[in-house]
Subunit: 156 residues, 2 copies
C-alpha cells in the first residue's frame, strides 16, 4: 500500500527533483529493440558501427521507457498521479550506448487547475536525462494530471 | 540483407501509408509496465478498475513502442532511415486495453533538405493509431532523417 506524499498543490513551478540513474546493458538494448524497434543500429553491433551512431545505441523509446521507470520509482509512486495526456516536445539529443550511466532530473514548469475537474490539477514538467559525460541525451516537456489534496470550491 | 525501396525523395508531403495492426494481451501490457511503468493502473487489474481508466491499460510508452514496431516492419525497414531527432507532439488520447486491435496510419506532413548534410533529408510525419472502435488512441508528429537517393549538388 503506497502512501501519497505529493498532491497537485505540492508541485510548485520552478522546483526540481533528482530522479536517480540507470545504466542499460547491450543485452537490454538489443532485447528492447528486438521487440519494438528492430532497426540495424539498435540490434546489430556491426551494422551499428557502420552507422552514423558509431556503435550500438538504444531505441529512443527504450530511453523514454527507462526515464519513465525512474520517474515512477522516485516520484510518481508517492504522488497522486492520474496519468498523462501527452507531451508537447520530445528530443533525442545524443545516442545512448551500452553502459552509459543515465541520470534523470525533472523541473516543474507550470501548474494550473483543471477547469473540467475540481479535484484534479494539471502540471507541465521538463524531463532531462544526462549521460556520464554530462551530455543531455533526452529532453521532454509534458503534462501530468494529479489529484488535488483539496478540491477547488465551486466559486474558484 | 534489406533492399532500400524508399529514399528521402520518395516521401512526398500529403502521402499516407497504412502500417498494419497489433493487439496487446493483458500479459504483454503487465510485462511492459512491470519493467518500465509500474503504476497501479498498468499492472494491477483491480487497481485499474478503480482508476479513471476503468480497467487495465497499456503504458503510453508501450503504445508508442507498439506503433514503432509497426512503423519499422511496414516501412522503415525498406527505407533509408537514419533515425529521428525527436517529436514535436505526442498525445495519448484514449486508454489502450487488453485485446484492443490497434491500427497505425502515417501521413507525410513536410519534407526538406538538410542544410548541414547534402546526402540527407528531413521529413515530418504524423502517426495516428486507432482502436477497433475507430477511436484515435495515439497521435504523434515527429521528424525522421532519410538518406537521399541523389545528394544535393553544392549549388543547391
Amino acid at each position: 500500500m503506497s502512501i501519497i506524499k505529493y498532491y497537485w498543490e505540492d508541485l510548485v513551478p520552478g522546483s526540481t527533483r533528482e530522479l536517480g540513474s540507470v545504466s542499460p546493458t547491450a543485452e537490454e538494448i538489443r532485447a528492447f529493440a528486438t521487440q519494438f524497434d528492430p532497426q540495424p543500429f539498435h540490434v546489430d553491433e556491426e551494422a551499428a558501427k557502420a552507422s552514423i551512431f558509431g556503435g550500438l545505441c538504444a531505441s529512443g523509446w527504450h530511453t523514454c521507457s527507462m526515464a519513465m521507470r525512474l520517474m515512477v520509482d522516485n516520484f510518481l509512486s508517492e504522488s497522486s498521479s492520474l496519468g498523462s495526456p501527452g507531451l508537447e516536445s520530445l528530443k533525442w539529443l545524443k545516442p545512448v550506448h551500452p553502459g552509459d550511466a543515465l541520470s534523470l532530473k525533472s523541473t516543474i514548469l507550470e501548474s494550473r487547475p483543471m477547469a473540467s475537474r475540481p479535484d484534479v490539477g494539471l502540471v507541465r514538467t521538463a524531463w532531462d536525462m544526462f549521460n556520464q559525460h554530462g551530455d543531455k541525451v533526452l529532453h521532454m516537456e509534458g503534462y501530468g494530471m494529479f489529484r488535488r489534496r483539496t478540491p477547488a470550491s465551486p466559486q474558484e
